[in-house]
C-alpha cells in the first residue's frame, strides 16, 4: 500500500517532460510492441538500449527507476522460477518429479524476466515524465474522434483524472482505518485465508462509506466550478507536436527497425561474428 511509485510524476524540465503527451502515449504503445517483437538477446539489448536512452534524456534518477522495478520484484521472481521449472527444454541439467531445469528453460525465463523489467521501465517512464493531467488530456485528445459516435470523451477524461487524484488519498485512508482497527485489537496478518478475508471487512465498509461521502462533496465542487457549463470548453494544457516529438518518433522508429533487423539475423550478417551468432541462436 505504501509504495505507489507506479504512477507518480517526477517533476523536471527534461526533453521527455517537454514532449507532447499524445506522442508519448503513442510511443509507449510502440515500445510495448517492440518488447513483444524482440526474440533473441541481441534484439533485447536493442530494446534495453532504447529504454536507457529514454531514461537518460528524461533525467530520471536511476534510483527512481530501480524503485519501480522493486515494486514488482515478487512478480519477477515468481515468473522466473515458474518458467525455469516448467519449460520443456532438451538439455536438462536437473530434474525432479515434474520439474526440469534445462538450458533452454534458463534462457527462456531470463528472457521473460527481462521482458517484464523492460515493459515496466518503459511504461513508468511515461508516468514519471507526464503529469496525470497530461496523460488524461493526451488520451482525451487521442480518443476525440470517438466523439462523433457519441462517446463522452471529455467526461471519461475527467473521471480518469479524478480517479488518479484519489488513488493516493484513498490508499492513505486505508492505512488510517487499518491503524484504527489494529488499535482495537484487529489483526490482518494472522490466521487462515478465510479469517484474513473477514478481517478486511471492517476496512472495506468504512472505506466505502467515506468514498461515497467524498463523491457527494466532489459532485458539488464540480458544479461549483461550472463543470459542463459550455460545450465550448477551452484547454489550459497546450498540446503541440514539436521538434522534440519528431525526434522521439524518429528515435523510437529507429529502435523498432533495429529490433526487427536483429530478430532476422540482419539478413545473414551474424554468422561472420561468432559471439553475435551465439547470442542470436539462443
Amino acid at each position: 500500500m505504501k509504495d505507489i511509485t507506479l504512477g507518480q510524476y517526477y517533476p523536471s524540465d527534461s526533453f521527455t517532460h517537454k514532449m507532447d503527451a499524445r506522442v508519448k502515449l503513442v510511443l509507449v504503445v510502440a515500445f510495448i510492441v517492440a518488447v513483444f517483437l524482440a526474440k533473441n538477446f541481441l534484439s533485447y539489448i536493442a530494446v534495453a538500449a532504447c529504454v536507457i536512452c529514454a531514461t537518460l534524456v528524461s533525467r530520471i534518477p536511476i534510483s527512481k527507476m530501480l524503485k519501480s522495478i522493486k515494486a514488482i520484484i515478487m512478480i519477477l521472481i515468481f515468473t522466473g522460477i515458474l518458467n525455469l521449472m516448467f519449460y520443456n527444454g532438451e538439455t536438462v541439467y536437473w530434474s525432479w518429479w515434474r520439474f526440469n531445469v534445462s538450458l533452454e528453460g534458463i534462457i527462456f525465463s531470463v528472457k521473460m524476466v527481462l521482458r517484464l523489467v523492460l515493459l515496466v521501465m518503459g511504461t513508468t517512464l511515461l508516468t514519471f515524465t507526464t503529469t496525470p493531467t497530461g496523460i488524461t488530456d493526451g488520451m482525451e485528445s487521442l480518443m476525440s474522434p470517438l466523439k462523433y459516435i457519441k462517446v463522452p470523451v471529455h467526461d471519461i477524461a475527467v473521471i480518469m483524472s479524478i480517479a488518479l487524484r484519489f488513488i493516493p488519498i484513498l490508499s492513505e485512508e486505508v492505512d488510517k482505518i487499518m491503524m484504527a482497527q489494529k488499535a482495537r485489537g484487529a489483526s490482518f496478518d494472522t490466521g487462515g485465508l478465510v479469517s484474513r478475508a473477514k478481517a478486511l471487512l471492517p476496512i472495506l465498509i468504512p472505506l466505502f462509506v467515506s468514498a461515497f461521502r467524498r463523491a457527494d462533496e466532489l459532485a458539488l465542487a464540480l458544479d461549483a466550478r461550472c463543470y459542463n457549463a459550455t460545450p465550448n470548453r477551452t484547454r489550459y494544457q497546450v498540446m503541440k507536436f514539436g521538434w522534440r516529438d519528431l525526434a522521439g518518433v524518429i528515435g523510437t522508429a529507429v529502435f523498432i527497425v533495429l529490433v526487427v533487423a536483429l530478430n532476422n539475423n540482419f539478413w545473414g550478417a551474424y554468422q561472420s561474428v561468432e559471439a553475435a551468432w551465439w547470442l542470436f541462436a539462443v
Binding site: P132, L220, C226
Partner: protein, 288 residues
C-alpha cells in the same frame, strides 16, 4: 483603510422571504425558513451557527445549488431559479467547501486551478493569467507545478480558494472552510480571506461556528433552527448575549472576560478583541 469606500451600496446577492425544506418522498426535513438578507459589494459577512442550524442550506441557496420553495434569491439581479442562467450565477458566486481534498480534480496544482476557467470557455492565454494571479493572491505561486497531495490542510484549502478565484467571481462563499484545519491552517485561511476582502475588495461570505472568526466582520448573521435570529455589527450581536447563547455559540474569550468584569461591577466597555480588552484593562488600572 477607508471602510466606507470598501463596502458599496450595490447589492450583489439578495434573499427575500426564502423558505426551503428537504423532501424525499413522504419525509420532509426543515432546511431554512424566513430568510431575508442582502450581501453588498465589498462586504465581509459572517454567518454563524451551530451544526444543523441551516448554514450550508442557506449557502447552497445563495448560488443556486438549491432553489427556494418560497421567496426569491437574486444574484446581481438574476433569479437563481432561472435554469438558463444557472452557470452565470455559479460563476459569480464561488463556493469553497469544508474538506479541501474533496474539491480538487487534478493531480497538479495549476491544472486544478485552471479547471473552472476551462469549463467557462475562457481563452487559453487568459486562463494562464488568471491561474498566476489566483495563486499569487493566496500565496501559493511556488507550488504551481507540484502535487496537492503533499501540501498541508491550510495550503490545500488555499489552492481551493485560488481555484474559485480563477473564475473571477463577484462573491466568495466559504462554507466552514476552516472547520477541518488545525489552528495554523485556520490562521492561514483567515489571513487569506482578510487579505482578499481588505486588499482586493472581494465580497466574502464566511460561514463558521467559531465566533472568533466573526470579530472582523462588517456584519454578522446568527442562525438557529433554520432562522436568522440575530444580525448586525459584531459588537452589537455579541452584546446580545442571550441570543448568542440560545444559538449554541460561545463568545470570544475577550468578550467573556469583559462581560464578567462588567457584571462584577467594574467600569469598562464591552470588548470583542484581545487588544480592546487589554487597552480597557490598562485604562482601568490607571484609574485605580
Amino acid at each position: 483603510m477607508d471602510e466606507n469606500a470598501r463596502v458599496s451600496n450595490e447589492v450583489v446577492i439578495k434573499a427575500d422571504g426564502v423558505d426551503f425544506s428537504y423532501r424525499s418522498g413522504e419525509y420532509v426535513s426543515r432546511g431554512v425558513t424566513g430568510i431575508n438578507l442582502e450581501v453588498r459589494r465589498g462586504e465581509f459577512l459572517v454567518i454563524l451557527g451551530r451544526n444543523g442550524s441551516g448554514k450550508s442550506t442557506l449557502a447552497k441557496l445563495l448560488n443556486g445549488f438549491l432553489i427556494p420553495d418560497e421567496g426569491i434569491v437574486t444574484v446581481m439581479g438574476t433569479d437563481t431559479a432561472d435554469e438558463n442562467k444557472i452557470y452565470e450565477v455559479r460563476s459569480k458566486v464561488g463556493m469553497v467547501f469544508q474538506n479541501p481534498d474533496n474539491q480538487m480534480v487534478a493531480s497538479v496544482v495549476e491544472n486544478d486551478v485552471a479547471f473552472g476557467p476551462e469549463n467557462l470557455g475562457i481563452p487559453r492565454a487568459e486562463i494562464e493569467e488568471r491561474v498566476t494571479e489566483a495563486l499569487e493572491t493566496v500565496g501559493m505561486s511556488e507550488y504551481r507545478k507540484g502535487s496537492p497531495n503533499k501540501l498541508s490542510g491550510g495550503q490545500k484549502q488555499r489552492i481551493a480558494i485560488a481555484a474559485i478565484l480563477a473564475m473571477r467571481p463577484d462573491v466568495v462563499i466559504l462554507d466552514e472552510s476552516t472547520a477541518m484545519l488545525d489552528p495554523k491552517g485556520r490562521r492561514e485561511i483567515m489571513d487569506t480571506v482578510m487579505n482578499l476582502n481588505r486588499e482586493k475588495g472581494m465580497t466574502v461570505v464566511l460561514i463558521t461556528h467559531y465566533m472568533d472568526e466573526a470579530i472582523e466582520a462588517d456584519r454578522i448573521f446568527v442562525m438557529n433552527d433554520g432562522k436568522i435570529t440575530a444580525s448586525g455589527a459584531p459588537k452589537d450581536v455579541f452584546l446580545n448575549y442571550d441570543k448568542v447563547k440560545a444559538a449554541g455559540l460561545e463568545l470570544p474569550v475577550a468578550s467573556k472576560v469583559s462581560k464578567a468584569l462588567i457584571e462584577a461591577g467594574y467600569d469598562l466597555p464591552f470588548a470583542i478583541t484581545d487588544e480592546e480588552l487589554a487597552k480597557s484593562i490598562c485604562r482601568l488600572k490607571q484609574k485605580i
